[in-house]
């Protein structure tokens, strides 16, 4: 058993260093995996050190907990499909927040007479951890399509939500001020859970990258607050590192949509614009449908093709077939690149992971700013299940809800083929001008089916 606090502190310092190194290694895909191993080693040091602390008992329970959690974690992580990654990230985020809230609850119960900064930390940890837990569960349910991915709204929602949050905050302040009853924290946790649910429900699927990043930050901050309760620097620092990561990603995602974080969270974007789709061709322009055979010819005789994937590719799980199509085209001497919009999909970097799973070398994937200047020299752009991130209204129509959002300039290419299930508007619920552009043709159908048809059509040429 370790009783010297200096030794304990130094061992935890090893953990902190490992975590920072793990994050540093993430700056390049070549070292990133090694970094994760370093982080894992750091975590083992922290766990072993804590288990060896003086006064740790209840070994049977600890052991059972470790085994149960490990089984859940391994099975979950190993069996989930790559297309279900956003849900999985949400789940593991939620359990962390839940754990932080439970630790706070146990401390509240145990501490006979908490001093003010202890109760402050307990309140923060319980509040943020519970919001993160409940919010992540709702995010999971939305991504898994257990509940509608569309925004769920009702009149006065922001008022109700504010009241719930104010109630939780009021209880928190009461607890800090010295109201040390057990029920205070129970009620605070209940209200925070409710707020977590209410806060994610009105957020539409396309805004999920922002929400998931934000919940990630919340869990980090909750862990950090727990560190203040337990006087544990390793918790404070590690939690804050995650808090910083999540905050940074949240800001980046909001910036990529040209919206403020508050607008994403409280704007309940997208439910108003679902006007009648028939009104679209009023100005005489119409949408032109095409066939896989035509597209196959277009692609095979192009010099340069850019693929712009979106959530539709993830839903149809078409990434492997897309790669196969790209390989076929490359064999014919066509240059193929991928254009990745920062908020394509349901979490930051979603498309990169899917295409990596399909063995697309990451050197072929290009970020928006890198690829946008190349569209004018591109013969064909293949838009696969992406919508709002290609909508030229973001550049030209100040009345559009997505006006000002940086987009992939696919309309600057010589021709555009859009693969889409139907003419329904995307998650943002707005019509896409791109589809009426004379350069654009539409290939309707499930992305996977369409790509498979394209593959056989290209082979038949």
């Amino acid at each position: 058993m370790i009783s010297d606090p200096d030794v304990v502190g130094l061992l935890y310092l090893v953990t902190i260093v490992c975590f920072v190194v793990a994050l540093k290694f993430l700056s390049s895909p070549r070292h990133a995996r090694k970094g994760n191993w370093v982080g894992g080693a750091g975590m083992l040091v922290a766990i072993a050190t804590t288990l060896a602390l003086d006064g740790i008992g209840n070994w049977a329970l600890i052991l059972v907990g470790l085994v149960a959690g490990t089984v859940v974690g391994v099975v979950g992580a190993r069996t989930v499909r790559m297309t279900a990654m956003p849900q999985m990230v949400a789940v593991f985020n939620g359990v962390g927040g839940g754990a932080a809230a439970l630790v706070a609850l146990a401390e509240w119960h145990t501490l006979a007479d908490p001093v003010r900064d202890e109760s402050t930390s307990i309140v923060l940890s319980a509040l943020i951890g519970s919001i993160s837990f409940a919010g992540s569960v709702v995010a999971f349910a939305k991504l898994q399509e257990l509940v509608s991915g569309r925004p769920i709204v009702f009149p006065g929602q922001n008022v109700v939500d504010s009241l719930i949050l104010l109630g939780a905050a009021g209880l928190g302040i009461a607890a800090i001020a010295g109201l040390e009853e057990q029920w205070v924290l129970y009620l605070l946790i209940a209200l925070s859970l409710l707020f977590g649910v209410m806060f994610v429900l009105p957020i539409g699927g396309a805004d999920m990258p922002v929400v998931i990043s934000l919940l990630n930050a919340f869990t980090g901050l909750a862990a950090s607050a727990t560190g203040f309760v337990l006087d544990s620097t390793v918790l404070i620092v590690s939690g804050m590192l995650v808090g910083a990561a999540g905050t940074l990603l949240t800001l980046l995602m909001a910036k990529a949509m040209n919206r403020s974080v508050a607008n994403v969270l409280f704007g309940a974007f997208g439910q108003v614009h679902a006007g009648p789709g028939a009104a679209r061709a009023d100005d005489g322009r119409t949408v032109r449908a095409t066939t896989p055979e035509d597209v196959a010819v277009q692609l095979s005789f192009a010099r340069k093709v850019i693929v712009a994937p979106g959530y539709g590719m993830a839903v149809a799980q078409a990434q492997h077939d897309v790669r196969q199509l790209a390989d076929l085209l490359e064999e014919r001497g066509v240059e193929v690149k991928y254009a990745i919009h920062p908020v394509a999909g349901r979490m930051p970097g979603h498309m990169n992971v899917l295409l990596a799973e399909a063995n697309v070398p990451y050197t072929q994937l290009f970020e928006m700013d890198e690829i946008n200047p190349e569209f004018p020299q591109t013969d064909v752009v293949l838009v696969i299940g992406a919508n709002d991130v290609t909508n030229p209204a973001a550049r030209s129509d100040p009345s559009s809800p997505i006006y000002g959002m940086p987009i992939l300039d696919v309309d600057k290419a010589a021709s555009v083929v859009v693969m889409k299930r139907s003419l329904n508007p995307g998650f943002a619920g707005i019509d896409n001008e791109l589809y009426l552009d004379p350069k654009t043709t539409m290939l309707f159908g499930d992305a996977k089916d369409s790509v498979l048809k394209l593959i056989s059509a290209v082979k038949a040429l």
Binding site: V20, L26, S27, S28, A32, N36, G39, M43, I47, T50, L51, G55, G57, N58, L61, G65, L66, G69, T70, V72, G73, V74, A77, V89, F92, V95, A99, L102, V103, A106, E107, T110, E118, N216, A223, T226, F228, V229, D231, T233, I236, G239, M240, L241, V242, G243, A245, L248, L249, D327, I340, P348, G349, N352, V353, N359, P361, Y362, T363, E367
Partner: protein, 104 residues
């Protein structure tokens, strides 16, 4: 917790925030999903809190709550790590020998 150690802990917190921003702003967009998942794994450090609470629990309520925290935190650590490892294992430079163009 004395006031001196509270101030010290706050100092550490603020420095960690700067360090976090500094390190994480270097992560390329391409790796943002593994970053999130890796960050998920790191906040699994709350397992330290779970062990301390459960390990020191003396009544049934604390045991139950601590045990639940233990299970959740362990799932966080283990799941977060494996998901990250699985994702990072997929990022490859050139999976098969192919034409050497547009290689960055």
């Amino acid at each position: 917790m004395s006031d001196a150690s509270l101030v010290l802990e706050l100092t550490v917190l603020v420095l960690a925030a700067f360090l976090g921003f500094e390190v994480i702003s270097k992560v390329p967009t391409m790796l943002h999903t593994p970053l999130m998942s890796g960050a998920n794994f790191i906040h699994g450090i709350v397992i330290v809190g779970a062990i301390i609470v459960l390990g020191g629990a003396e009544d049934t309520f604390t045991r139950v709550v601590g045990f639940a925290a233990m299970v959740l935190a362990t799932a966080n650590v283990v799941g977060g790590w494996f998901v990250t490892d699985r994702m990072l294992g997929m990022f490859k430079r050139r999976p098969e020998p192919k034409k050497e163009k547009d290689g960055a």
